[in-house]
């Protein structure tokens, strides 16, 4: 039985019409997401997705299939595990240790906190890391009579760089891993070494800029006051919950390394381990779910359906032909796609862009005469690192700006650009250069 839709009832149900309507829906949704001042991105994405079903661009079953379950499971699972770790006070202990190590020295503070943030971001999502680190950093720097904003920006930049290293570090990587069929180990092998070098260079640049701007000068010299500040850090924790959380988190990461051997998707592992943790921890599920970013999940849900409409109507196939005309070999493709991804991700949300480009690469792989794998890594580097370009380039930036403003230290658009743009330009060039070099030396 043919599926009756509103469009077919009014005589607009032809394949060609659906093709253009799906493009219009995507463009409209994207426009609403960009116009953040007027629309929240979550209802915008949900409206786009449900409108696609409403008009019949995709069937309800097709919409359900368009949702990438692996991505959704991975996000939900990791958010639950992180929620338990937050509840246990693990991050409070880490930051308190960091403060004790740095002893109030601004240089050591920025170095320690950015390194800690980058490492945490590689294994936890960036928004969670920023949500945790920024309030602590603001509290410490303001007590030390330092300007918190440059430190907050440095932390956000480190978060976006660190998140690029692994499959679970940043939402674009989760999408790329799932749609491109890459394992956790693939990310470690292909991206982690590049990210380590990129982080070192990025750190040198933002620390250099902070030093030049005078943000690393010691303002509080009274030793007694310094000691009091360090000891006053409120550290509430639950050792048993932390132990359970870290054991489950550790096993989850080990299983991620083995997921291709176990023939299990990363999402299945994350959700399974999250369920084990909830049973074992005996914490109220309601308390744990409070920290799950439901709005992010809803955003993904809506976008998958909108993008599913494009895929269903053959738009990506055509886009792949177009891209194939521009990218004729993978080596130039690394630079073109990587650079383009970084620029676009810097000015608009990188999640819809990555989703759309992933489908283009899937279709490109069917027709291209070369292996498109290097392009996937270029997309990952560009989309993740490009997020540092402006304050709206990544969700973590927006969250950090919100937190900083709430504490009385607003981050102006150009303050961020002044620190973020040079770091982004250099890190993107270095990262794409290293990726290019890797394939130039070792072949594809």
């Amino acid at each position: 039985m043919e599926h009756q839709t509103i469009l077919s009832m009014i005589g607009l149900g032809s394949k060609e019409n659906l093709y253009w309507i799906s493009i219009l829906l995507f463009a409209g949704t994207y426009a609403m997401i960009i116009l953040e001042k007027f629309f929240h991105r979550v209802p915008a994405a949900l409206l786009g997705g449900t409108f696609a079903i409403f008009l019949g661009v995709v069937t309800p079953e097709g919409a359900w299939e368009a949702i990438d379950h692996n991505t959704m499971f991975l996000l939900i699972g990791m958010m639950i595990i992180v929620s338990v770790l937050i509840e246990s006070g693990f991050f409070s202990i880490l930051s308190s240790m960091a403060l004790r190590i740095t002893k109030g020295d601004p240089f050591k503070i920025v170095l320690t906190f950015t390194l800690l943030t980058a490492v945490l971001s590689a294994f936890l999502d960036n928004v969670t890391t920023v949500l945790f680190m920024v309030p602590i950093l603001i509290s410490i720097t303001s007590k030390l009579k330092l300007k918190p904003v440059p430190y907050v920006i440095a932390t956000v930049l480190a978060s976006n760089i660190g998140g690029t290293a692994t499959l679970i570090g940043d939402p674009p990587n989760i999408i790329i891993g799932s749609l491109g069929g890459f394992t956790f180990m693939d990310f470690i092998v292909n991206l982690a070494p590049i990210v380590v070098v990129t982080h070192i260079i990025g750190t040198i640049i933002f620390i250099g800029m902070m030093k030049y701007q005078g943000h690393l000068e010691v303002k509080l010299t009274d030793e007694k006051e310094l000691k009091r500040i360090i000891e006053e850090q409120k550290v509430e924790y639950d050792v048993i919950l932390m132990r359970k959380g870290l054991i489950v988190f550790g096993i989850t990461v080990i299983l991620f390394f083995l997921h291709h051997i176990l023939h299990l998707e990363a999402g299945t592992i994350a959700l399974f381990m999250a369920s084990v943790l909830m049973i074992w921890a005996k914490e109220s599920p309601e308390k744990i779910f409070e920290r799950v970013e439901w709005t992010t999940l809803m955003f993904f849900l809506g976008l998958f359906v909108v993008i599913g409409g494009l895929e269903h109507s053959g738009v990506f196939e055509d886009a792949a032909h177009l891209v194939a005309g521009v990218i004729t070999d993978p080596m130039s493709g690394i630079l073109i796609l990587g650079g383009l991804s970084a620029f676009i991700s810097g000015i608009v949300d990188n999640i819809p862009f990555t989703m759309a480009m992933s489908y283009v690469l899937i279709d490109l792989a069917k027709t291209a005469a070369f292996d498109v794998e290097p392009l996937w890594w270029a997309l990952a580097l560009g989309a993740c690192l490009g997020g540092n370009l402006t304050i709206i380039g990544a969700s973590a930036n927006v969250v950090a700006a919100g937190l900083s403003e709430r504490e009385g230290y607003p981050i102006k658009f150009f303050d961020f650009v002044k620190q973020g743009t040079p770091v982004t330009v250099v890190t993107v060039i270095v990262a794409l250069g290293l990726l290019w070099l890797k394939y130039a030396i070792f072949g594809i």
């Binding site: 006070g89 202990i93 240790m97 409120k234 550290v235 509430e236 924790y237 639950d238 050792v239 048993i240 919950l241 932390m242 132990r243 870290l246 109220s284 309601e286 308390k287 409070e290």
Partner: protein, 260 residues
Amino acid sequence: MPVNKIVFLQKGNVNFNNLKVASFISQKLQKKLVLFLIEVPENQKEKVKDQLFSLNIDFEIRNQIEYGEAKEEIKAEKPDLFIITREKISPFEHIFKITSSERFIKGFEYIDILLLQEDCNKIEKILINVDKETATLYYIKSAYTFAKKLGVDFKMITSFYEVFYENRLRKTHPDEEAKQLVAELFKEHLDAVKEKIARSLEGEEVELIVAKGDPKKEIPYYARKHQYDLLIINEDINDKDSYIENSEMSVGIFKDEEGA
């Protein structure tokens, strides 16, 4: 049947800081101090004796006991109080390691236990937790009597998990109404704890601190922040192990009823 003795267990090297505290408790409570010295070097045994003689403590030494049998021996002694040294480790180390003393006290019932932190050489401030649900009148009275007899500064504390109730009620009630209901629950919590204390102490006055937050995290945090030397909790409290492991100080685990 009153037994009037305190057992103090030491394995390997004697912790003389803790011995000083155990002697102090024994003196103040006027109970005999029975020392279980396991694998303790001879010269230290002599030093222990000298120290206790000089303090004029009524004591007895048992040093023929194997560590594996110590638990049963102590249970058979039925002491009023069992004291053991707890290794001092950071909360971060604690994630990966349960101290031997914490393992040792598992399975002890109907005995008041004192886990003395390795570096504890005095008890001058005691915090007694009064859990609304599980603290019994017997427990409150015995913790109070213990602190009173030591003649040190002590306070009672209870914690109300405000955020937990507020978040739950906000799902089903408008914000203002939820706040109102939480305020009522808080009052109810406080009244119940105050009533328990009043009934237990039969009119004797004691200062009660009211904290807000998850009790198993908030109470150890409060004790740490205000530099208490000892936190006392009741044996049947929920999440007992969490209270113990979250406290970077000496912890007393007092029984809820007279028995065994």
